[in-house]
């Protein structure tokens, strides 16, 4: 930032004709991207459009087969991430990639510790770290372990780290997907501050509101190809969406309609499929009651950390409740393990796709088979033909791309990984399917597909629990909404169609938790 007079709008990074292929997949095909000083540039596209791959090309993680990357006019060829970093490109990933077992100061200053001779001057290092953190209005103890902080704070630490290494380009890959509203506002404040100081920012998010709020310009990708570069102010949403999915906006609206009308809003009050009576777990969620009926979608609303995830884990054997009892169709059960739940046809699709979902080094086929095979036990292997049929069925039904059962799941885009996981659970023919943030980090096309699928499953008599940070989504799908706050279940509202986002927010904000 110190050399010759840089002006806002100068191109800092110019990527041209980027082409990258993976085994069996052509991930990018001649894509261009220009990042300018003092601008926030949004990278838009559906799952599998190639956003992550392009970012990894920029950050030196993926080797580029064809095409060039120029940083400030100099043609560079990155063979590993450290070279990209040396060129001034920093990244804050979707999943925070810091060392959570180190302290905040160590993470922020890693590789830039203050030295006294051959030794590290920890006191000065911590002081420096605190200075950078304060620039981001972050008042935390640099000596505290990173894992002790929320994802939002960890992300800000990652940005603080980007400041330390004198960043010219900051890449933010889905930074907001696990943040609540206030945290997003804080993040945006920091991003704008950086932008105004001359950093070029590449922003990737599936929240259209946030993209429109923050970005100056956007590049749209579709199926690994470059669609175009647009000024955000001049591109109406509907047009953006049709660029992203390659269909007209009307067609998309049609899908939305279909999803809505196919929901049956009856809630048959016969015996509930699963009943929880006063179940709770210390440090997880306070005791609560719940009844889940066949053919009904129950939404869980609440902010991140409100106990949504902890609550459903108690219903599905993922965690054992300390107190309370569970009943399936009126008779008491103990679900001590996920396997016990699966055998009773209760499946949980977890929130953290990477850590608790996919088995990265196994194939799509094996990932789909895993839960069904586990419920059948080690010795009764699923016959090849049966598994072929299952895999083929879901590859087509869920529109998984690439439709190659032998691809390693880690080579798929996030949205397609999520679909494979859905197939894993559906293959066990669940009677109760709990979906924890199934649409997180997923584009509109896949999101609509998953919503429609959920509605159809419930219409066929499945009991579904649906958790999402996006209230609109919860409202659109659920017949009943359980509201969580501060690890308590504070309310349960029937969704008769007149309920609005504001009503739910009002409940979250104003219903008292005991005496407060």
């Amino acid at each position: 930032m110190s050399d010759t007079p840089p002006r806002a709008g100068d191109a800092v990074v110019r990527m041209t004709g980027i082409t990258i292929t993976f085994p069996g997949v052509k991930a990018l095909d001649g894509v261009d991207l220009v990042l300018r000083r003092g601008e926030v540039h949004a990278l838009m596209g559906e799952n599998g459009a190639g956003k992550s791959t392009l970012i990894k090309a920029l950050t030196g993680v993926n080797r580029v087969d064809h095409g060039g990357i120029a940083v400030e006019g100099r043609e560079l060829r990155f063979t590993d991430p450290s070279q990209a970093q040396a060129a001034g490109i920093s990244t804050v990933y979707q999943e925070v990639n810091l060392c959570t077992n180190l302290t905040v100061a160590e993470n922020v200053m890693l590789g830039h510790e203050v030295r006294r001779g051959p030794f590290i001057d920890w006191r000065a290092t911590r002081r420096e770290a605190r200075r950078y953190l304060q620039r981001l209005n972050l008042d935390i103890d640099p000596r505290s372990q990173l894992s002790a902080h929320s994802i939002a704070v960890q992300q800000l630490c990652a940005i603080a780290r980007a400041l330390v290494v004198d960043t010219k380009v900051l890449v933010l890959d889905e930074p907001t997907s696990s943040l609540d509203k206030a945290e997003v506002a804080e993040l945006f404040r920091v991003v704008r501050q950086l932008r105004d100081s001359g950093v070029a920012i590449l922003f990737v998010s599936h929240f259209l509101d946030q993209v429109y709020e923050l970005s100056d310009r956007m590049t749209v990708l579709r199926n690994g190809r470059f669609v175009g570069e647009f000024k955000t102010a001049q591109l109406p949403r509907r047009e953006l969406i049709s660029h992203m999915i390659g269909r007209s906006g009307e067609a998309l609206a049609g899908i939305g309609e279909h999803a809505r009308t196919s929901i049956t809003r009856h809630s048959p009050r016969e015996t509930p499929l699963l009943t929880g009576i006063g179940i709770g777990r210390r440090g997880g969620v306070e005791p609560f009651d719940i009844s889940l009926y066949p053919g009904e979608i129950v939404g869980f609303a609440g902010l991140l950390g409100s106990g949504r995830t902890e609550a459903v884990r108690l219903l599905t054997g993922a965690d054992r409740p300390d107190e309370g009892a569970l009943e399936i169709q009126g008779s008491p059960v103990r679900l001590a393990t996920p396997l016990a739940a699966l055998r009773r046809h209760i499946a949980l699709s977890t929130e953290d796709r990477k850590k608790e979902g996919i088995i990265g080094d196994l194939t799509v086929r094996e990932n789909m088979a895993l839960a069904l095979q586990a419920s059948r036990g080690t010795w009764r292997r699923i016959p090849k033909r049966e598994l072929d049929e299952i895999v083929q069925k879901y590859l087509v039904a869920l529109n998984i791309n690439p439709p190659n059962p032998n691809a390693l799941i880690r080579n798929l885009s996030g949205g397609n990984q999520q679909k494979v996981l859905l197939a894993r659970w559906l293959a066990t023919s669940p009677r109760l399917l709990v979906l924890d943030e199934p649409t997180r980090g997923i584009d509109i096309g896949a999101k609509t597909e998953i919503q429609r699928l959920v509605a159809e499953l419930a219409a066929d008599g499945m009991s579904v629990v649906f958790i999402s940070s996006e209230l609109e989504e919860v409202l659109r799908l659920s017949q009943r909404i359980v509201i969580m706050r501060d690890r308590h279940k504070i309310d349960e509202i029937a969704n008769d169609g007149s309920l609005s986002t504001d009503d739910v927010l009002e409940t979250i904000a104003n219903t008292g938790v005991k005496a407060s």
Binding site: G24, T363, L370, A374, S375, T378, A407, L408
Partner: protein, 366 residues
Amino acid sequence: MTSTTTQSGTPRPPGASGRPAALLQRVSQHGVLWPVLALVVLLLACGLKSPGFLEVVVRDGNLYGQLIDLLRNSATPLLLALGMCLVIATGGIDLSVGAVMAISLAVSLTYLDGAADPTSPATVVTAVLLGLALGVVIGAFNGFVVTALGIQPFIATMILMVAGRGIAMLITQGQITTVTSAPFKSLGSGFVLGVPMPVVIAAVVFVVLVLLVRRTALGMFLESIGVNGEASRLAGVKARSTTWTVYVLAGVLAALAGIVYGAPTMAADANNIGLLKELDAIMVVVLGGTRLDGGRFHLGGLVVGALLLSTLERAVIIFELPSQTTPLFKAVVLIAVCVAASPYLRSRLRTPRPRARVAKPVEVAA
């Protein structure tokens, strides 16, 4: 047997299968390619240096020759590596196998020593079963420490690696127990249909294990546990008991290896039987194309690895090098094979000169 694993392990671009060039491509990317090449080169070199090396003769209906000796010597490392490989697949390691060899042999021979008639088949069977049972107990202990107490496998199995020889010494009361029992001895030096007994035992165990792992879902579960244990648990895989099972398997196989290894001499030398064999087993696993960080494993590669190991040991003798230098050559081959098979190096070699390739875009599945 491994061909099924590799097919799913290295995804091919659709449509490229079946063609000879694509086949070549797959072969060249197969992890076992380099160990096989190294083995062939070594065998040829030994054959040139010592002309009788490649000869196999039939005497009294039994096969003899240096190649047959190689097979026989490969049996013990193969047995150990089979167990080790499954443990490694789950992301663990078993350092105690060498010590288990010593203990199981000590138990078997001590029992024979005290028996009224060490040559009766019933006594020998009991002695072998006792040794194997001991392997089960030790494997169960290792599995308990790893899965129930949650101690890192390296440390957990180190306990018995260190203590095991002491236990063997206690059993033999500090002596080198020697017994004479023809039936027991034949476990190491006998023949079945002309084939040496250890080779038959290793082959049978290999086939049984491959069937066990690939015909059931055990193999997939082991790999999924090794790649992502928590996700596997949430998908209903019994991660704990499955992991426990492979430690027991590794224990039994090590016990069997101890008996097969010690049977020809029938001397339970607690200090030397199986010494450093755990490292040989790990080396065989690595040579066989399985990564030490868990996940995908290839049992077929172990056969190549074990053969390579024993050929190497023999080659040192044939080339009249001091036998103390054997470890050095092991290290050299290990490094050479690992470097040759490294995805990094191969992608490096590939980039600067894009040779004419038939199957269009294929990268190494790193």
